[in-house]
């Protein structure tokens, strides 16, 4: 059963809140009582998608666990901008160890809580795509395989952003990064490599896997709430645009995330025990150009020396996602 939007004529289906909705139908983010897990004063860039996505997700997890939550963090932007000594933006119990061991540390925290008989305390681990799909991947797979009682959240901004935008295994084909320069006959990141971690997580047969974006708050909160209602290993990958690494205006963060979903470039779905159980349908389908053109990391595909064949290959990826996950409403519906 996928996310059921609140049927509302004016707004409410898509906005954060609405004065006309009953309080229990409103989002966690619309509440003045939200926990603001990441407080003001953090040093994320203007318009940071990750800071936003982390507050959306951890606030929802806090609401779902009645505030009994411990957060484990991998090294990455989120860790760096939220905790420059001697300040911390976190308003939840929070621990950071190394770049690659966040899933293992989370396993340990969960085990410790079990030993102490504090099973009401829930554990969330979080990291960027680098700490998840590359460096922490062994620990993550182990955590999945043992079905440890941890919700792992990956904030996916498709490269190593805080070290200067280097390619990760989540970087899309053709994107420019510091290590995939737009030179040669096939400029930017190569086609045919990279990891689809949500699908790898599904292959472990864990109870719950989902993807979400910062443009779809109600869906994101629903997925965190659902994940928190389960036990065992759970995985959510949230698409969080990075104005610095994508080369987009700071006010476009949510628009870019919306376009990633509306083009089919980032399929939003959920799966239980390895099977897809719901997808967030595309509302108004648009061509990939609309998503690519505002981003400087794809600027070399357009302009004076365009690469229409590369754009076509990216469109083919989007079309494949649409077909594979059934992202379009059927005409008869």
């Amino acid at each position: 059963m996928p996310y059921q939007p609140v049927k509302f004529y004016q707004t409410g289906t898509f906005t954060v809140g609405n004065r006309l909705l009953a309080p229990d139908e409103r989002s966690v983010q619309s509440s003045r009582m939200r926990s603001n897990s990441i407080n003001s004063g953090h040093r994320a860039c203007q318009g940071c998608g990750e800071a936003l996505g982390a507050r959306y997700a951890i606030d929802a997890a806090m609401a779902a666990s009645d505030g009994q939550l411990i957060a484990v963090n991998a090294t990455g932007c989120l860790e760096v901008f939220s905790t420059p000594y001697p300040e911390s933006s976190w308003q939840v119990p929070w621990i950071h160890s190394l770049f690659g061991n966040a899933p293992a540390v989370a396993t340990g925290v969960a085990a410790a809580m079990k030993v102490k008989g504090r099973q009401e305390v829930r554990v969330v681990a979080q990291g960027g795509d680098g700490g998840t799909t590359d460096i922490g991947f062994g620990c993550l797979s182990g955590m999945f395989e043992r079905n440890d009682d941890v919700l792992y959240i990956c904030y996916d901004n498709e490269a190593y952003m805080n070290t200067g935008v280097q390619r990760s295994s989540a970087t899309p084909p053709a994107a420019r990064t510091a290590t995939t320069m737009p030179v040669g006959p096939e400029p930017g990141n190569v086609f045919g490599q990279g990891k689809n971690v949500p699908e790898i997580a599904m292959a472990h047969g864990i109870p719950y896997v989902a993807t979400a974006t910062v443009a779809d708050l109600r869906d994101l909160e629903y997925k965190v709430r659902k994940a928190m209602s389960m036990h065992g290993a759970r995985y959510i990958q949230i698409f969080v645009p990075c104005p610095l690494g994508f080369g987009t205006a700071s006010h476009d963060t949510i628009r870019i995330a919306r376009l990633a979903r509306e083009t089919g470039m980032f399929p939003v779905f959920e799966a239980e025990h390895g099977e897809v159980t719901g997808v967030l349908k595309i509302r108004h389908k648009v061509a990939v150009e609309e998503y690519l053109q505002p981003q400087k990391r794809f600027a070399h595909l357009f302009g004076k020396h365009p690469h229409p064949e590369t754009v076509a290959r990216l469109q083919a990826i989007a079309d494949r996602n649409i077909r594979k996950y059934g992202l379009l409403e059927k005409e008869s519906d």
């Binding site: 409410g12 898509f14 954060v16 006309l20 619309s30 407080n39 040093r43 507050r55 300040e87 104005p243």
Partner: protein, 542 residues
């Protein structure tokens, strides 16, 4: 050694020491922009403002906000040509909000529940004479009474309403609706004197001891044109036909009625003739449908009811039981030119609907007036050249609709009030218009317009029952909630949610939001993601 407990290195939430607001080069600011509907409304209604209350189901409050500008919502919800809906931004998304149908619902609800206007403010001790009890006069009387002035309306006719009663047919405006809204205005303490035609305005003012006057006598004299006619042909004018519909003796038009003209009045007469039993009601108009001044939906409804229209035709001659019509052709400039081709039409009567003139005789001998093209010229404050005498409605140069009349009444009342107090009325500064490009339409769910029910065609041809039905409570609420609230915060919490820096403070229901500029980095996400365009970015002085 650290004073913190074991294993705690950093205190929670200590990043507050880092005032990231210093990074900012531009700041977001909450604004109220002018919704296009409000901008387009000739009566100056705060449409977005009253829809806001209707959306929450508080119809009484919605009605109270609506009637700040317009005391006749049940009438207007039936006869207004709703320029607001033409301007509505939602029209660019799916279909314009049915503002007119919600207005009618509120007006009908007020009659059903017997809502009354709040008592007037403290008495000013001033007396104002209003001449004419049409839309403009009633509106002025209402506004002046609520401002605390004593108002007397002197009406030449036997009943109040002006063209709303003697021009607009019953099937568009049932008379009990009009009566109820007029009575509510009179309940404010307004005196209405019927059958008292003002012959000389200065004299009437002196006799009654009035401090100011508002003239709104309307345009009731049907324009004539010369048609060579035999004795046996019946030629009447549209205004008298519609007026006599209100009396005991209905007009005798015969079985074959020809109406000459192309305005809304021509349509009204043709549809009335049909209802009176005419087998044929034919409108003869010298130009094409595109050029016709009548509103398209009225033409459409008339055609549905079996009214025939002869385009590009003029009446040359009227004989016994028939008329001669000359065909016209449009020249390069789009003007109709005679072709010399004639045909005859059977006609028992010819009704002339060629526009109306104003009876200005009450102004004879008044100093300082300027009269041009049969209308009284007024300044921006609605005052004629004669101090203390204001005018509005059909007798001044303007579009002649009920809505414009109501707007004139409101505007004149404000200026009369200021004039009586020896000051000039200063309208507040107009906000920037909330155009469609200021909105983020993504956030509005798809929702098609609710269509009002129409009376069965056979009843429309044979009775004067109201043609267009109203909305009920459920679909009126649906329709109200289709409003995009252009340019005005409706508390959707988007800015509060999308700020990555928690720099938006939610103040609680009805109190909107505030920025915390200590931490706002100026990313502009709230501005772009605001559905209704109620935030704008302003450069910082650096």
């Amino acid at each position: 050694m650290s004073s913190k407990p074991f294993a705690i290195t950093l205190k929670p939430g200590t990043s507050l020491a880092n005032l990231t607001g210093t990074w900012r080069t531009a700041r977001p600011q909450y604004v109220d922009r002018l919704p296009p509907c409000n901008h387009a409304c000739p009566a100056g209604e705060n449409i977005q403002g009253w829809l806001f209350h209707a959306e929450s189901g508080d119809y009484e409050q919605a009605w109270r906000v609506l009637t700040i500008s317009n005391p006749l919502p049940a009438v207007m919800g039936r006869v207004c040509y709703h320029p607001c809906e033409t301007a509505c931004n939602r029209g660019q998304l799916d279909e314009a909000v049915g503002i007119n149908s919600v207005e009618r619902f509120l007006g009908d609800e007020a009659i059903k529940r017997d809502w009354k206007f709040d008592a007037p403010a403290a008495a000013s001790g001033k007396k104002v004479l209003v001449v004419g009890a049409g839309p403009s006069g009633l509106s002025a009387a209402y506004h002046l009474a609520r401002m605390g002035h004593r108002v007397e309306i002197q009406e030449a006719g036997p009943l109040a309403g002006g063209m709303m009663r003697f021009g607009i047919p019953k099937y568009r405006l049932p008379r009990e609706v009009l009566d109820a809204e007029v009575q509510r205005i009179l309940d404010l303490g307004v005196t209405l004197k019927l059958n008292s035609k003002v012959v000389n305005i200065e004299q009437s003012m002196q006799q009654g001891g009035f401090d100011a006057a508002f003239l709104a006598v309307g345009a009731h004299i049907g324009k004539r044109t010369f048609i060579p006619a035999g004795d046996a042909t019946k030629i009447v004018d549209a205004v008298s036909v519609l007026r006599s519909m209100e009396g005991e003796d209905k007009p005798m038009l015969g079985r074959r009625v020809v109406v000459y003209g192309g305005g809304n009045t021509a349509i009204d007469v043709a549809r009335t003739a049909k209802r009176l039993g005419a087998t044929e009601a034919i409108i003869v108009y010298r130009r094409t449908r595109e050029k016709m001044p009548a509103h398209d939906f009225e033409v459409e409804e008339a055609l549905q009811e079996g009214v025939l229209i002869k385009w590009l035709s003029t009446i040359k001659q009227a004989g016994e039981g028939e008329i001669t019509v000359e065909k016209m052709a449009l020249d390069e400039k789009g003007f109709p030119q005679p072709t010399g081709e004639f045909e005859t039409l059977a006609a028992d009567s010819v009704v002339l609907a060629l526009g109306q003139d104003v009876d200005l005789s009450l102004l004879d001998g008044l100093s300082g007036l300027e009269i041009k093209d049969g209308t009284v010229q007024v300044a921006a404050n609605m005052m004629t050249g004669h101090p203390g005498i204001f005018a509005g409605g059909d007798m001044v140069p303007s579009e002649r609709t009920v809505t414009v009349g109501v707007g004139h009444g409101k505007k004149a009342a404000r200026n009369i009030d200021a004039w009586l107090r020896g000051i000039a009325y200063e309208p507040g500064p107009k906000h920037e218009i909330a155009t469609f490009d200021k909105l983020n339409p993504w956030y509005y769910s798809d929702a098609d317009k609710t269509v009002r029910p129409m009376l069965d065609i056979i009843r429309r041809q044979t009775s004067f029952d109201e043609v267009q039905g109203g909305l009920d409570e459920t679909n009126a609420l649906f329709e109200a909630r289709r409003c995009l609230s252009c340019g005005n915060c409706f508390e959707c919490d988007n800015c509060y949610g999308v700020c990555p820096d928690n720099a938006v403070i939610k103040l609680g229901p009805g109190k909107r939001f505030e920025f915390n500029y200590d931490y706002c980095k100026g990313c502009g996400l709230c501005v772009v993601e605001c559905p209704c365009g109620a935030i704008k970015m302003v450069p910082e002085d650096i």
